[in-house]
């Protein structure tokens, strides 16, 4: 595994470089929106990756509640953190695109609002993990993740009704993409998914290692100091 990991990362970097080239150079400039439309190649794949990671978080949380497996919890931490980062990218790139195209930074549109609420829920999830450092934290966090997942459809429906009551100018992407654009988009979708999985996997490995070191250190202080140098060497101070 240790050997495969850098190779996978190198492949991911190559794929990302190729997809960036596709998005910025190969894909044709959009007629009405101009170059700002290219944000689309990053915005939508980031959203897709964030949502997939949040799903992964939900599955890991449920798995943790059923089997109490520490690795499921490590996956839950990793996917939530990386998911929040990708979701933040979505929420930042969206307004940058919207300002020149719609003329406004933000609107309480269904997708925007649902994404924002999802982001809020997962930030509160991370805050809970941060503020609670007892052994029960994984259980509490898993329970919160389930509550969050139950909440999202309700948010979606409430905004959907709200906005159909008060019609807004149509904000959908509309129409179909020209083939070169579709190509660039799909490459970026793939690249971002792979990138998201790799970051999440790295974070997961770090989390598992951190726990091992923590356990080793706890064992170490229980047994006394004579074995300390042998046990706590692998990651040393960086793990604390």
């Amino acid at each position: 595994m240790k050997r495969v990991f850098p190779i996978l990362w190198a492949l991911t970097a190559l794929l990302l470089a190729y997809s960036t080239y596709q998005a910025l150079v190969v894909a044709p400039t959009e007629q009405t929106m101009g170059d700002v439309q290219r944000i689309f190649y990053y915005h939508v794949p980031s959203a897709w990756t964030a949502f997939c990671l949040f799903f992964a978080n939900l599955f890991a949380s449920v798995a943790y509640l059923i089997w109490k497996n520490s690795k499921a919890d490590a996956l839950a931490v990793a996917s939530a953190e990386v998911g929040v980062v990708f979701c933040t990218i979505v929420l930042i790139t969206g307004p940058i695109w919207a300002r020149p195209v719609w003329g406004i930074w933000w609107t309480w549109d269904i997708r925007l609002t649902t994404t924002l609420v999802l982001w809020l829920i997962y930030v509160s999830y991370l805050v809970l993990r941060r503020f609670s450092d007892t052994a029960q934290t994984p259980i509490l966090a898993a329970v919160l993740a389930i509550f969050g997942a139950l909440d999202v459809p309700l948010v979606y429906f409430s905004i959907w009704f709200f906005r159909t009551q008060h019609p807004q100018p149509v904000m959908g992407k509309g129409g179909s993409l020209a083939p070169p654009m579709l190509h660039a988009f799909l490459i970026n979708l793939l690249a971002f998914s792979v990138f998201g999985v790799m970051v999440c996997w790295t974070r997961y490995r770090l989390e598992v290692l951190r726990r091992e070191v923590e356990q080793a250190q706890a064992m170490d202080s229980l047994l006394g100091s004579e074995t300390s140098e042998k046990v706590s060497l692998p990651l040393g101070r960086s793990a604390r």
Binding site: I121, V123, V127, Q136, L154, F157, F162
Partner: protein, 225 residues
Amino acid sequence: MSSFWSATIATLVKDIRLEWRSKDALNAMLFFSLLVVVIFSFSFNPSAEESRAIAGGLVWVAFLFATVVALNQTWAREIRNQVLDAYRVSPAPPNSLFLAKVLGNFIFVAILEAVMTPLFIVFYNLRALGPAWQLIPVAVLGTWALVVNGTFFAALSLRTRSREIMLPLLLFPISIPAIQGMVEATRILLAGDGSARFWIVLLLTYDVVFTTASLALFGTVLHAE
């Protein structure tokens, strides 16, 4: 089943008796929401027409903040003298404790709303243009939505550092659809434009979903070790 309800009622009666003797939570909530009413009134200084449009939001934000004040006390009481630990080892079902806490908080918040609503009407010159009786189901369902999740998250944040700050941070994001439902329904009923049915159904769905989820997961949270 009867032992479930007798445990629930015993806990509920105990909580009400404690509150009746101290009146800590109720007094704090009442004064707090009175302050919110006055400060909002100063900050927005609305006309009768405007206040119909914004009152739904103001009322529910005031009640939401006041509810958090009460919810923060609800479990803190059980931590002193290790009451919660005693409860954990007792054979009483965890859900009866949870249900008793929710019912207790519901009663306290309902009292708060009954006292504060006339004040809101006076300060903001409110008069409902829609079917006003529908405000009652909105209030009941909305209060239940706040209280059931609030009680659950108060229990969840019991073991965290600075738990009084934690509760709103956990409760508010999850409550967004419920708050939107209450505010929109109230606004529609006050301004008399259209039907509030969708929002009442939304609140009902929210209540059913989260009451079920809370009852299913409370035991896990209580016994989390």
